[in-house]
Every structure is written in C-alpha cells, then in structure tokens.
C-alpha cells in the first residue's frame, strides 16, 4: 500500500508509517494477556463464590451465626466492613436469594460470618435457621454494597444506630477498627425490644469495657425489671445528651425500616445534615401502600397476572415484590441487594403499571423508558415484562 498511496504526500505521513512498522517489530499480538481482564476482576469482584457452612453458632433464641468458608479452602475476597453478600438458595424447588451483611472482620479472610435472625413471615431466614447444616454447600455473590466507612469523608467520629440484627455490620466495622488500630471513635447505640434479643451481648460488653475508643449504649424498648441499659425509645433528648457535638459525627443506621426512618427524623431534628447519615438498605417495603403516590383503591391482596414475554404467565398478589413472584414461578433475573440499589434485577415493563417505592433508586431514563427494579416493584395491574 505505502508506495502508491497518495497520502504519502502529507508531511509526516511516511515517518508515521515507518514508526508503525517499527512498532510492529517490537510489539505483541496480545495473546499473553488473554483472560487478563477476567482474572484481574475476579480477584477483586468475583461474581459468584462457592462456599460451605463450616460452623453454626447459636447467638440468641432467634439468631444464629453461620461461619462460611470457601469450598476449596482458599481465602475469600477482601471486603469493606459493612458490606454484604447475596446468598443463593434453593428451597423446595424455588431458586431465590437474600443479601446478608458480613459480621466478621475483614482481616480474617478464611471465613465470612453471617448472623441471621428469624424474620417474621420470612422465607429464607427460616430455611437458614431450621435447615442449614454444617458442611452444606452454598453459592453467593461477591461482597457488595456502599454501607461502609469511607475515609474520604466520614471522618473519625462514628456513631452507629443499630436495631435488632442491624448490629451485624456494626460488629464487622468495630472489629475492623480495633484490629487495624484505626484512630476512630466508635459509638454503638444498640436498640432491641427485649434484652434476650441482644446479639453479641457478651462480646460487645467485654470490648466496651476494655477498648477506650469503643462506647456501647444498650437500649431496651420493652424492659424487664433487671434489664441492662437505657429503657424506652430513642428520643432527641436522649441522643443529644448521649452524643456530644452531634453534628460533627458520621452516623450509620441499620435496622428495621421504621427504626431507620425514626432515626433519620430524630437526627435531622437535632440538626445533623443528611450528608452525615448513612442508612443501610433493607429489602422491599412491607407496606408500599403507605407510601406517597400509591394508586388509590388498590389493595395489597388483589390478584394480578404477570406475563413474562415469550415465556409464560402466572397469578400473584399486588403486595408481592415482582422478583419474589418471578422466582416462585420458576423465572429468574440476576440480583444482589434486593432493595432497589444495585440495579442488577432491572427488567423492562412492556405493559401495565407497577408501583416503584422510594426504595427504587431508578435512573431517570430507566423510569422514562419503563425499566424497573423487579426486587422492589409491585404490580398494580396485570403486567407484561421482558426478562
């Protein structure tokens, strides 16, 4: 090509042509980096982990900790304290999954501890507590989520408001701070209905008495006569007395949805900026019908038909999140957070209407073109979706 190419008349063209020829002599056909991307990404963000239950620890009457190890005995991927994995299970022929925060410290990568509390009306939590056995194999996602300390702006004064099993990520964060000797002050305000619900009670109390930078405040909302700690609900008064210079702290909130919401309200009333409050996601809302913009006259128990384009259809209830009913009827989409945050369960609504609750962190243009997060979408009419 080069001799008769008219472009040779361009100043510099031939030189570039020659240097290209020189590059060709010393260059490679890149065969040596085959699979490089996959291997690199896999080391940090594996899509799936193959695990088995190593040990089961009874925490309270309603809570167990499952120590999971790699099925090959290898170390598990690193994670940031506060992150979760999504555990895939097959329960009586229904393939589903639930995200669980990692309770153990990121320093120990031979295992991830998951602490699971029996959820009222739950499906997977019952399965875990009643049927999961030691040595049983499990598959999960890699560690994910943004509910963790971020040194770029969280600072060193951290206050964690936990309700019930919300103490799970708090434990991981605490152990991380202590084991890495980080210069942070960590105050855990741990709220439970009953004293016998307190998870990690012994461990937390022991650490609080020996570690100068860890403060534990236990709160019991339905105390008995010999309950430890503060009795009653959280109030602005209680918090402002308990936490000095409250607007300078970074707050982490993790618990049942009503708990989270009331914590945000209290902190906001105390002048804490929204940017100083991090809240962990919490699954689909149980009562989407109490949210703004819920269509009038539609009840959660109404029956609707879901059609999966080209694949079939089934009947379900308005109040059942779409992803759950898809799974119950043998369909599936990728998923991880099951709380409207990660976007993995994104599907297209072809016809009909769904309610997207405030949990659905949809992109503006997804909303516009009818893409929804099936994990938190409620079909409010007969619908057709594209998987």
């Amino acid at each position: 090509m080069s001799e008769h190419n008219v472009l040779n008349g361009i100043v510099g063209y031939q030189e570039v042509w020659q240097s290209k020829a020189a590059l060709e002599k010393t260059g490679s056909n890149f065969q040596e980096i085959k699979q490089d991307v996959q291997k690199t990404v896999e080391r940090i963000h594996p899509k799936r982990l193959s695990l088995k239950v190593d040990r089961i620890i009874e925490e309270t009457a309603s809570t167990k900790t499952f120590r999971l190890v790699s099925s090959t005995g290898a170390v598990l991927p690193p994670f940031q304290a506060g992150q979760y994995i999504n555990v895939f299970v097959d329960i009586n022929g229904v393939a589903t999954a639930r995200p669980y925060a990692i309770a153990s410290s990121p320093a120990h990568r031979h295992y991830y501890d998951l602490t699971i509390k029996r959820a009222e009306g739950g499906f997977v939590s019952h399965f875990a507590l009643d049927q999961l056995k030691e040595e049983q194999a499990l598959t999960s996602s890699g560690p994910m989520g943004t509910f963790h300390h971020n040194p770029l702006f969280h600072g060193e004064d951290l206050v964690f408001l936990a309700g019930g099993s919300g103490s799970v990520p708090a434990r991981s964060m605490l152990l991380d701070i202590l084991e890495r000797n980080l210069p942070y002050r960590f105050h855990l305000i741990y709220v439970n209905s009953f004293e016998h619900d307190v998870i990690y009670a012994k461990e937390l109390r022991a650490l609080a008495s020996t570690q100068a930078n860890f403060t534990l405040t236990e709160v019991v909302t339905r105390p008995t006569s010999n309950s430890q700690g503060h009795k009653g609900r959280l109030t602005t008064e209680f918090l402002s007395n308990l936490v000095p210079s409250i607007t300078d702290k970074m707050f982490y909130i993790c618990g049942p949805t009503p708990f989270n919401e009331s914590c945000i309200t209290l902190l906001t009333q105390l002048g804490v900026k929204r940017r100083r409050i991090r809240v962990e996601a919490n699954g689909a809302p149980k009562r989407p019908d109490l949210q703004q913009n819920w269509p009038e006259g539609v009840s959660l128990n109404e029956e609707v038909t879901v059609t999966v384009k080209g694949k079939g259809s089934y009947k379900t209830r308005v109040g059942e999140p779409l992803l759950n009913s898809l799974e119950t009827h043998g369909f599936s989409t990728e998923n991880a957070c099951r709380s409207g945050e990660c976007s993995l369960c994104r599907v297209k609504l072809v016809s009909g209407t769904v309610f997207n609750p405030s949990e659905a962190h949809l992109r503006k243009s997804d909303r516009k073109f009818g893409w929804i997060y099936s994990c938190v979408a409620f079909p409010t009419s007969d619908i057709e979706v594209l998987l």
């Binding site: 472009l7 100043v11 290209k20 020829a21 060709e24 056909n29 080391r43 690193p78 369960c345 992109r363």
Partner: protein, 506 residues
C-alpha cells in the same frame, strides 16, 4: 436454534448505534450485553439522591438547530432525536494552573479568538493564523481528504487539502511551537489532549484542531439524564423496530466455519446462528478470546503488534451538598494542572505518584436537573494506565484507591477548596473498575493508545474472518462521537453486504 441476520456483542456506543441501525435497516438483530444496563462507558449509576454520569464530559458533533452537524442526522436516522434532550454548554473549558494562569475559553469560534487575543496580545497575528489553520485542517480532513484518498490523485491532495498536507500529520506540539512563542498559550490551547489520552507531543495536530474547531463551532453538549438517556433511547428505538436485547448475557464464543462466522454462543450456553457479528468488545477480546479457533488472521496479528495499550482513567464521582457557586465553579469543564508542562502531567499516568493534572466537570451548572436542588454533581478525573493497578494485591486495593483519591482531591482543591467539606455521596472508579464494567484490557477507555500510528489514515479495517466486524473505540478514535459514528457506518457496510448476499440468492 434461533437465527438472526446480525448479532451485536456489547451495548456500548458502537454496539448500540450498530444494532439500532441494522434492525431499523430491516435485518433481524440480537444485541447482547454482559452488564445489566446498556451504554458501556455511556452510562450512569445512582447513589442516594444523585444519578452520576459516568463518562460524558462534552458531546461533540451535534451542532445547533440552526447549524446542525453530523450527529443530529445520525440520531435522527436512528429514531432517538425526539427521545432525548440535549443541553448546550456555554464554555469550552477553564484551564487553571495555580500561580501561572487561569483562563476560561468560550464555546464560540469568534469568542475563542477574542479571548485568546485578549490574554495574549503579543500573539495576536499568530492566533488568527492558528485559527485559520484549525478550520481548514478540520474541514479538509472531513470533506476533501476522503476524496483525495479515494481518487488516489496527488493533485487533488495538493490542491484541495493543502493545510492538511502541511500540518495535519505533525504532532500538535510541533505545530503549536512553530506558531506560538508563549508557552502558556500553547498549554492553554492544547488542554484537550486529555480527551485523547496522549500528550501534545504525541498526538496528531489534526486531532487537536478538529476537536477545538468542532467544540467551538458546533458546541459542547450534555444530555439530560446523562449519556444513559441516549443509551436507553437507542435500546428503545431498537426494541421498537423489533430487535431482541439480552442483558446480563455475555457472548461466550463467536462460532465460525471455513473462515466465516456462523453464530454466537451465549454465556448461558445457548447458541444462535447468524450471518454477521458486530463486536463492540475490544478486538483483543473478540479475536483472542471470543473466536472459536486460535488461528488469528495474519493481518489482525500485524495490526495488534503495531498497537500499544491505551489509557484508562481514575474518576471520583461526587455528590456535593452545596451549589456550584458555593464551590466557586464558573465553567462546567475545568482542567487543573500544577504545571504548564503537559508532558510532565502525562508522565505520571503510569504511577501512583500524586497526579499533576486532572479535570473536573460540574453537570448541574448548565443543567439544574443534574443534581437535587441546592446540591452539585461533580466528576474529578485523571488519566491513568491500568498496569500499575493490576499489580496491587487484592487486600491492598481499597486502601490504594482511597489513598490515590486523596491525592486527586488535593490537586482539585488547589482551585476549588472545600470540595471535601461538602461530600454527601462519593464513588471512586479506578482502571480496574473500568475493566470490570467495560471488559477492556487495561481498563482502556479510548481503545488503543492514540499516537499518530493509531490513526485510521494508516489503518485498514480488521479483516480475516468473513462476516465479523469490530466497532468501538479500538478501531476508530475513542470518545462518544467517533464511536457512535463507527457503529452507524459499520451497520451501513453490514446492511450493504447482507443485501448483496440476499440479492445473489434470489
């Protein structure tokens, strides 16, 4: 087994435009994307109350309604022009080199000349000459050079492409140093090297000239709802035309027989047959990993050997609890550098040392909807190669990422102090993040390294497997406009080929 005329692998800009064009051109098309969302680089993600634009800083090539340019036609023909809203930016960019210079260039050809002359009166004449050269080199490169190439006639070249002949294929630094003596002016006017990834000494003057000319004349644009809007609109147009799209579904193998494609095997194990495959995955992935055989065509080998890995980027996405005014942001796009020497800035791209230069884009300055009321959406970027990041041990990765982010924020705070103070949401993307979401070797964002040897003027289409086409930043120039255009023109070639084949069968 299901049959399609065309399978498109990857829903980046190149893949999306190609798929929309083939399906709308009457060929049944399957679009495969590994990720759960279309766009590749042209995407967004949500954190808290913010939706972050991932990659689009300034869209070129659109032109205004009264002075439309090529992208308007393409978007019209793909049926997306009425599905998205474009936002015009007022300025080209601000360049701030603390202690040395701080100038904002307007997005207007006349205004640009005036601003440059105001700041550099001693170069008044040279500026006029420079702008004339930029305009002519751009127009010739676009209009008459392809003609000269087709005719292969030296006279056409010399008569109709005189400026391109004289300046087009020299380095930007070479030409600028010949025209100007003021070092600051040279630095100011070559800031766009950041959009190419190689410093002014290594980039073609014609690339710099056409960027300046196109952005100033046809304006820089943002997209309402971010580039994700356009990606989603392209998918919508594709689906409306009857196309099939599968997300969370990568292509595993490209199946061939006797040197031609016959089908594609999906991540799920399913197979489909097809007459053509358009791959938006990097050709390094397409040819070295997806092809079902190891005999890499000789031409492709030669092409690869003369290429070098391109740059990736380190990006901090910030949702700030303050207005742009409170931060002192006056232009949507700023380049910030601690030195006038772009070569020194570029030398840092392979190391973890503090970056010497970076850019910051504020999306809600011209589009209030880009952030919640009273807040700001800002991206901080510095170019970086993937290599060093691949040497980091997995357990050190997060620490390394935060440490480097601190350095980039330090740099930006030299001009916009208080950034840290207002952070409400933050996400940090490293070259490894780019690898994860784009599936590109080195996490490359503009494809191969865009030195002059990478120019399409000395490259041919990657041939060797019948019916296999590559689109995207690796085989065209990187960036939004070039990849959209590559997708569209490749689709046209595929349509032509398939129509010919059909005509022969009849």
């Amino acid at each position: 087994m299901k049959h399609y005329d065309v399978v498109v692998i990857g829903a980046g800009n190149g893949g999306l435009t190609a798929a929309a064009a083939t399906q709308r051109g009457g060929k049944t098309t399957l679009l495969l994307e590994r990720h759960n969302i279309p766009g590749g680089c042209a995407t967004s993600f949500v954190r808290g109350n913010f939706e972050f634009e991932v990659a689009l800083h300034q869209l070129s090539g659109l032109g205004t309604e009264s002075q439309p340019f090529v992208m308007r036609d393409i978007f019209n023909s793909l049926g997306v022009m009425d599905k998205v809203e474009f936002i015009q930016e007022r300025d080209l960019y601000r360049l701030a080199v603390p202690g040395e210079l701080d100038i904002t260039l307007p997005a207007s050809w006349k205004g640009l000349q005036k601003t440059l002359q105001e700041h550099f009166p001693e170069e008044e004449q040279a500026i006029v000459q420079f702008m004339d050269i930029c305009e002519k080199v751009t127009l010739e490169g676009f209009l008459t050079l392809p003609k000269a190439k087709r005719s292969n006639n030296p006279e056409v070249l010399n008569d109709e492409c005189a400026h391109f002949v004289k300046y087009g294929f020299r380095s930007a630094l070479d030409v600028l140093s010949e025209l100007f003596s003021n070092k600051k002016l040279i630095t100011l006017i070559s800031s766009y090297w950041n959009y190419v990834g190689v410093p002014p000494s290594q980039m073609l003057f014609s690339d710099l000239a056409s960027m300046l000319y196109s952005y100033a004349v046809f304006k820089p644009w943002h997209i309402k709802g971010g580039s994700q809007s356009l990606s989603n609109a392209l998918v919508e147009s594709f689906i409306e035309a009857g196309g099939d799209v599968r997300f969370n579904c990568g292509a595993e193998k490209i199946l061939t027989e006797a040197g031609g494609v016959t089908g594609v095997q999906l991540e799920t194990g399913e197979r489909v047959t097809c007459n053509a495959v358009i791959s938006n995955a990097s050709p390094l992935v397409t040819f070295n990993e997806l092809l079902d055989h190891d005999q890499l065509p000789i031409k492709v080998q030669q092409d690869f050997k003369s290429r070098r890995m391109g740059t990736s980027a380190f990006v901090i996405y910030l949702g700030l609890d303050c207005t742009p005014e409170e931060l002192g942001i006056t232009a949507p796009s700023s380049f910030i550098s601690s030195t006038l020497d772009w070569e020194a800035v570029s030398d840092r791209m392979e190391a973890f040392d503090s970056p010497l230069g970076g850019m910051i884009t504020c999306y809600n300055l011209d589009d209030p909807d880009a952030a919640p009321p009273g807040k700001s959406q800002v991206a901080l970027v510095c170019l970086q190669y993937g290599d060093v990041w691949q040497t980091v041990a997995p357990e050190e990765y997060v620490k390394t990422k935060y440490a480097f982010a601190e350095k980039l924020i330090d740099l930006i705070e030299q001009v916009y102090p208080k950034v840290r103070h207002f952070i409400e949401e933050i996400e940090v993307a490293t070259p490894l993040t780019m690898m994860r979401y784009l599936n590109t070797p080195g996490g490359a964002i503009y494809g191969f390294k865009q030195t002059p040897e990478d120019s399409n003027l000395i490259r041919e289409r990657l041939e060797g497997v019948n019916g296999l086409y590559s689109v995207g930043s690796w085989t065209s120039m990187g960036g939004f406009q070039p990849t959209y255009m590559a997708g569209e023109s490749t689709a046209r070639a595929v349509l032509k080929k398939l129509n010919q084949m059909e005509a022969q069968h009849v």
